[in-house]
C-alpha cells in the first residue's frame, strides 16, 4: 500500500482532566486527504482526543504533530487559536453554537478572513445552503432557537465555510434526519476531492462505513486498533470485539 503522508500524528499522548487520567498514551496517525474514523464506545476518550488536539485540554506528555510541526504535547503547547490558525476546524460534540447570534453571524465568525458576509465566497455559501437548506431559511434567526438538527447543520457548516486542511468532527450525524446525513456524507466526499483531511468521530456505523478510509478504535483512553475501514467492515468478529456491534442489527 502506498501510505499517504500523515497530516496529524499523536504519539504517546496522556491527558488529564483535573486529577483524572483520561488518555493513556494515544497513538494515532491521520493520513492526508483521507477520512479517518475514530470509533469506540461511550467514554472511550474520543471526544477527549479531539479536544486534546485542539489544545482545549493540555496533553501532559507525548507529542502532537500537525503538518510536520509540533502543536501540542510536553513542551510545545500552542494555544487553541494558534492551532486553529494552522488550518484545523473543529465541530465539537455539543455543537458550540452561539445561541445569541444569528445563523449569519455564526457563519461570519467561522469565516475568519471575511469582515462582512459579502466577503464570503458566494459559491461556497451556496454549496452549504444546498447541503443544509434550513440554514438559508433561518439566515437571520438567533441560532439558539434552531431545532437540534439545524444546530448540528450549522455547526458543520461553520467548519466548512472556508477551506481548512484538517477537519475534526465529533458525531455530526446525531440528530440529523437521514436525508441530511446523506447530504453530509456527500459533502465530506466532495471535500476529500479537494485534499481536505477529516478525522471523524461517529457512532453511526452506516455513515462510518460509507465514508471511512482508515479507522482507529479507542477503548479506555487508548487506541486499540488501527487499520483500513474495508478490513473492519469485512471482519464481523473484529467489530463485535471492538465495538460490541453485531452486524445482524445493522444489515
Amino acid at each position: 500500500m502506498n501510505e499517504p503522508t500523515p497530516v496529524l500524528t499523536l504519539e504517546g499522548v496522556h491527558t488529564y482532566i483535573g486529577q483524572y487520567h483520561i488518555l493513556h498514551g494515544v497513538e494515532l496517525t491521520v493520513p492526508r486527504g483521507q477520512v479517518t474514523m475514530l470509533l469506540g464506545r461511550n467514554g472511550a476518550g474520543k471526544t477527549t482526543t479531539l479536544r486534546t488536539i485542539m489544545g482545549l485540554w493540555p496533553a501532559r506528555t507525548g507529542r502532537i504533530t500537525f503538518a510536520g510541526q509540533p502543536i501540542g504535547g510536553a513542551g510545545t503547547a500552542l494555544s487553541t487559536p494558534e492551532i486553529a490558525r494552522r488550518g484545523i476546524a473543529y465541530v465539537p460534540e455539543n455543537m458550540g453554537i452561539f445561541g445569541d447570534l444569528s445563523v449569519k453571524e455564526n457563519l461570519l465568525l467561522a469565516a475568519r478572513s471575511a469582515r462582512r458576509v459579502d466577503d464570503i465566497d458566494t459559491a461556497r455559501l451556496e454549496w452549504i445552503f444546498s447541503l443544509f437548506p434550513a440554514l438559508r431559511k433561518f439566515w437571520l434567526y438567533p441560532a439558539g432557537k434552531l431545532s437540534g438538527g439545524q444546530k448540528q447543520m450549522l455547526s458543520v457548516a461553520r467548519a466548512i465555510v472556508e477551506p481548512r486542511e484538517l477537519l475534526l468532527i465529533d458525531e455530526p450525524s446525531k440528530g440529523l434526519a437521514p436525508a441530511i446525513v446523506q447530504n453530509l456524507i456527500g459533502a465530506l466526499r466532495e471535500l476529500k476531492q479537494t485534499q481536505t483531511t477529516v478525522l471523524l468521530v461517529e457512532q453511526n456505523f452506516a455513515m462510518a462505513k460509507a465514508l471511512g478510509d482508515t479507522v482507529a478504535v479507542m477503548d479506555d483512553g487508548r487506541v486499540v486498533h488501527r487499520g483500513s475501514m474495508a478490513e473492519l467492515v469485512e471482519d464481523a468478529a473484529l467489530q463485535q470485539r471492538l465495538l460490541g456491534l453485531s452486524l445482524a442489527a445493522h444489515g
Binding site: A84, L109, W139
Partner: protein, 341 residues
C-alpha cells in the same frame, strides 16, 4: 440592531429582523411632554429639561463603560466606581499642573486643559483596567458571583490606594473659568458645562455604536462570552479582545469620572461607590448591556430627577427606583433587552 441585509435573498420566510425600537425614545419624549403642563412655566421647563438631558448624558458616559463590559463580556464590574474616582483624581493632578491653562479666560485654553486631563485620566484608568482584568477578572469569567466579590475587593483596594496617594479628604476640582456659569435663553438658563457634556456624550455614543454594530469585534466578544472555547477553536485570540474591552470600559469610566468630578467640582475617594447604585439602575433600565438602552435609561433618570425634584422633592428620593420598577413591569428585561442569557 443588525440591519445589514443578507447577500442572498432569504426568500422563503421573512424572519424577525431586529430594527431599532423607537418606543423607549418616544417614552422620553412623552415624559417631557407630560412635564410641561405640570411645571407650568416654559422657561422653567426648558431649564429643567435641558439640564436633565445633559445630566443624562453625563450619567451615560459614566455608565457606558459598565454596560459595555457587562453587555459584551457578561462581567458585572462592581469595581467600576473606583475607575470613576481614579479618573477624577488624576484630573485634579493634571489640572493643578495646568493652572495657567485653566485659569485663563480663553475657552480654547480651558478646553485644551480639560481634554488633556481627560486623555491622561483615560490612559491611567485604562492601564489600571488592564491590570485589573489580568489579575482580578480573568480567572472569574462566567462566574457572576465571584465577579461581584472580586471586583468589590478590587474596589476596596483601589479606594484605599487612592487614599494612600491623594489622601482621604475631598479635593477640589474647580471648573475652568470659561466653562462656569450659564447660557441664557430668555428666562431659561443652561449651564455651559452641560453643553460640553452633551457633546462628549454624543461622541462616546457614536463611537460605541460604530464599533459594536459595524465591526466584527462586537460579534466576537458576544460569541466569546457564550462559548470561549468555540471562538478560540475558530482561531480567534479572543482573550486579547476581552482585555481590550475591559481597558476601554475602564477608560470610559475614567472619562466619566473626570466629567463627574468637574460637574461636582470636587472629588472624594468614595465618589464612585456613591453613584454605583444609580449606575446600576440606569443599566437595568436600559436592558443590561445595550449601549443605546443605557443612553435612554440615563436620559430618563436625568429628566425624572429634575421633574420630580421640581414638582415633589419628597418623591425625588424614590424616583429612580420607581422608574426602574415601572419599566421592569412593562418590559421585564429592560428597554432594550440584550438576548436573554
Amino acid at each position: 440592531m443588525n440591519t445589514v441585509t443578507s447577500p442572498l435573498p432569504a426568500a422563503e420566510v421573512a424572519l424577525a429582523k431586529v430594527r431599532l425600537d423607537w418606543i423607549p425614545l418616544l417614552l422620553v419624549a412623552a415624559l417631557m411632554a407630560v412635564a410641561l403642563p405640570l411645571v407650568g412655566s416654559v422657561p422653567t421647563w426648558l431649564t429643567l429639561t435641558v439640564a436633565g438631558l445633559a445630566m443624562g448624558m453625563i450619567i451615560f458616559v459614566i455608565a457606558s463603560g459598565l454596560t459595555l463590559v457587562f453587555g459584551l463580556m457578561d462581567v458585572l464590574n462592581f469595581g467600576h466606581g473606583v475607575f470613576i474616582a481614579l479618573g477624577a483624581f488624576v484630573a485634579t493632578t493634571v489640572l493643578a499642573g495646568m493652572a495657567d491653562w485653566t485659569g485663563s479666560a480663553s475657552l480654547a485654553a480651558n478646553l485644551i486643559a480639560i481634554f488633556a486631563a481627560m486623555g491622561v485620566a483615560m490612559a491611567v484608568t485604562g492601564a489600571i483596567g488592564y491590570a485589573f482584568e489580568r489579575v482580578l477578572v480573568r480567572p472569574v469569567y462566567g462566574q457572576h458571583l465571584k465577579q461581584i466579590l472580586i471586583t468589590m475587593g478590587g474596589m476596596i483596594i483601589g479606594e484605599e490606594m487612592i487614599k494612600v496617594i491623594w489622601g482621604p479628604e475631598q479635593t477640589p476640582l474647580p471648573l475652568p473659568e470659561a466653562l462656569r456659569g450659564a447660557l441664557l435663553w430668555g428666562d431659561a438658563a443652561v449651564e455651559k458645562y452641560r453643553v460640553l457634556a452633551v457633546a462628549i456624550g454624543s461622541a462616546v455614543l457614536l463611537a460605541m455604536l460604530y464599533l459594536l454594530n459595524r465591526t466584527k469585534i462586537g460579534l466576537l466578544i458576544r460569541a466569546g462570552v457564550q462559548d470561549l472555547e468555540m471562538v478560540e477553536s475558530l482561531g480567534y485570540r479572543v482573550r486579547r479582545l476581552f482585555v481590550g474591552v475591559f481597558v476601554a470600559g475602564s477608560a470610559l469610566a475614567g472619562l466619566g469620572g473626570v466629567m463627574w468630578g468637574l460637574y461636582q467640582q470636587m472629588v472624594t475617594p468614595q465618589m464612585g461607590a456613591q453613584i454605583n447604585v444609580l449606575l446600576f439602575i440606569v443599566i437595568i433600565i436600559g436592558g443590561l448591556g445595550s449601549s443605546f438602552g443605557c443612553l435612554v435609561g440615563a436620559l430618563l433618570v436625568g429628566l425624572m430627577a429634575n421633574y420630580t425634584g421640581f414638582l415633589a422633592p419628597k418623591v425625588a428620593l424614590f424616583s429612580n427606583i420607581g422608574l426602574m420598577v415601572a419599566i421592569l413591569l412593562w418590559r421585564p428585561n429592560g428597554l432594550y433587552p440584550v438576548a436573554a442569557r
